[in-house]
Subunit: 504 residues, 2 copies
Amino acid sequence: MNRKGWAILMRSKMKPTTTTTNQHLFNKLPISNEVGLTKPSSQGNQFSQNPSSSMQNPERELKVVQASMHSSISTSKTDIIDSVLNDFSEGYFSLSIQKRQELLLVLAREYDVNRTQVRELIHQYLGLEPPVGEKGQASGLDESLLSAFYRTERNLRHALQPKYEILFERLNTHPGGLKFLTILRADLLSMLAKENIASLRALDSYLKEKLATWLSPAALELHHITWDDSASLLEKIVAYEAVHPISNLLDLKRRLGVGRRCFGYLHPAIPGEPLIFIEVALLKNVAQTIQEVLWDDPPTPESEASCALFYSISSTQPGLAGINLGKFLIKRVIELVKRDMPHVSTFATLSPIPGYMQWLLSKLASQSKLAESEAGYTPHMSDGRSGSTFRENILHPEEEAALMELSEEFSFGKNGMEVMWNLLTSRNYEWTSSERLLSVVQAPLMRLCARYLLQEKKRGKALDAVANFHLQNGAMVERLNWMADRSEKGLCQSGGIMVNYVYR
Amino acid sequence: MNRKGWAILMRSKMKPTTTTTNQHLFNKLPISNEVGLTKPSSQGNQFSQNPSSSMQNPERELKVVQASMHSSISTSKTDIIDSVLNDFSEGYFSLSIQKRQELLLVLAREYDVNRTQVRELIHQYLGLEPPVGEKGQASGLDESLLSAFYRTERNLRHALQPKYEILFERLNTHPGGLKFLTILRADLLSMLAKENIASLRALDSYLKEKLATWLSPAALELHHITWDDSASLLEKIVAYEAVHPISNLLDLKRRLGVGRRCFGYLHPAIPGEPLIFIEVALLKNVAQTIQEVLWDDPPTPESEASCALFYSISSTQPGLAGINLGKFLIKRVIELVKRDMPHVSTFATLSPIPGYMQWLLSKLASQSKLAESEAGYTPHMSDGRSGSTFRENILHPEEEAALMELSEEFSFGKNGMEVMWNLLTSRNYEWTSSERLLSVVQAPLMRLCARYLLQEKKRGKALDAVANFHLQNGAMVERLNWMADRSEKGLCQSGGIMVNYVYR
């Protein structure tokens, strides 16, 4: 490439443009959320509140949209169903987030399970003899009685489906409908994050199950994303990259070039927009810092690579939160790389630890308080969460001593935990500029990080969302890397520590 | 193309070769069944009984296959699941159809719904107050009680899913698994056609619902099939064409060439094999005979076409019987043609009437008997089926007279209906070679055909499978065409009559 070309690629940050035409309402880029985070980021719903959309598409009366929702569910005329669904989705997009919530409450409550029918079927069902009796012996029913039993059971199963199932099914087979449903679910999640409304949660849980079925990995196409792909697709990669933001076009080009791979899962009904994508670096060894992955120059010749390092995986649809597409994506990418590059034998990640600092700071604060007023407290049992009221020695004596020694110098903190808290929350991460401070905090930070990753659980799952994702997929924690990501994001999330998970 | 090329294309019938290697067991071509036929053809299962397959892949012990089926359902180890599923599917294919039936009976009975759990949940459920009371007013429950209600309802819905759901779900995300499930269902249908076993019917009904969800049109890709497609894909078109068999490669090439279109629905998990495909001719007018569609020479220049005629639609998977993919295919093809060729304004079919002769002959036979012994019978109410015991005048007086006039000449038949029955069942369709005979039977054959298509119903659906398919999709009967298909198949199915359905 000539000098001018490079200059253009390097020139400026690449950001998705804000589109304001009507037809882009469907495509307006929501901000990505990282894989494994089950709560949508508060920005996930940006487009819903974007004032430009309602300006371009004037808000309709809620009643009018509700009427088109009703028709979408109840019409039996196949020739008008498409226009009715278009009408409904346009109407939905014209509404403010508050009006959308009112509409979804109507959907959840008035198009719910028909419970009169369910009760009738339950009574029928309980009156029939099942194929196998209580004691496990066959009931000896003849085939026609058995048929009646299975039929009633199936009818009961169907009756337990809410009526809004019809709307979801119809939208799924409607052009643009699947994408609409993911946006609708992103809205639902942002509403539920603010207020827990039981009927909306039931609606969300049902929609999530439907989306998980429709987006089964068998229906997804693995696409090798390259510099030859369309700008509109590559723009989405830039917009959705959640782990290590892409700084400019040159950065993007590197990530798609020699020694690098990028793969995405595409669904036929959402063309040109990967639902999730993964970035891979082909290296001689498992990398220990993100800098050597993002900016190694020149890259390792591919024939010398023995490690495929997954350094970023981003899901693009906030409305698919909690649906694990990444597991299958990683599995298929491993198969593909193994087949194409038999000399690659190690499959590992270099992953962020997004929840570590939050957990640690809360732990330090609560334990420091407990330590101070220990005499006045009766220890309680741990409730298993950070911020516990159960007093524990989270620092080793030599760590405590080293931190208190600092304290004399810096003169803040009544105990090691408070000193550490103050250091870690100092302005501009000052602690990372001093060799002395770094050497003191390294040992406790690394040790507690291992504990956080391996021992801290919530409902049986690793507390850290990314750790939970990889461990659930069958990977193992291989190594913690000190000062592996010195970016502001890396320091803020995990004090610069990154972790290698290995897939065997 | 040079003369030699043509000669090769014309040379011989093109049939799929019988493959005997192991890896083709998955792909062995089942014979296609026509769209709308809900019963699988008895040939649909050919491959199951193909002795060559068990010779190549020696039959395993049923117990061994059953054990791998059990592991496929019960293992929780993600790293071995693929090999367990491979083991199970290979084992399944090694079994004879009888052994497969035994295995599927075990699946249906021992991995069924957990009814103890269902009963417990029903009792819990009935003890909870629903969100809306019997009289329609909100119950005024607080959110936590409502949550408990929704949770119990969801648990009950989940508990009503049989345990074999897990096997289906796992196979669906396993490479080759979706295809395997369609073969498994084809087996089930052929077993059920021989014997109605309630537990197998429940298994089939559940699997059909799952397949319908996974193969939702949103997950399918519309592919324009051309002469540039791979031989392996085109071979499948030849093998599966169910309506008008493709006689040789030249015939195939015409159907993909100028003035013709062929579109198929492909699923990402079943590559290179359309699940259903449709053949379209671009014509000046709605064609009245199949000969002018198959052998018009030269074809209408595409710029002069005003009609897109759907002359063949074939589904390739007997295991997808009853899942209407054709409806969406036709809809999408209409949209596509409209967009690309705005001068095409008529969308019609030239369709066979596969059930007409069978219905008519049965009607003629039963009514002729009733007519003969009328004095001795008390008329019954019609039971709505052909072969009714309700006496009716199915021939008009002038038709009766014309047929009886023939009778003197041909000297067989005590009444018009018997004469007609004898004519229609004469060897080699002799009646079609005589102008005299043709002119006598045309009026009653055409009139009764209209009645058959428009008035004869079974459970509210048109009795004729193809008629039911198009009418359900929103098309209308436009015109009946006399002697529109003089092939043996056409004469046998519908006395050579074909019908135009029009999509508006």
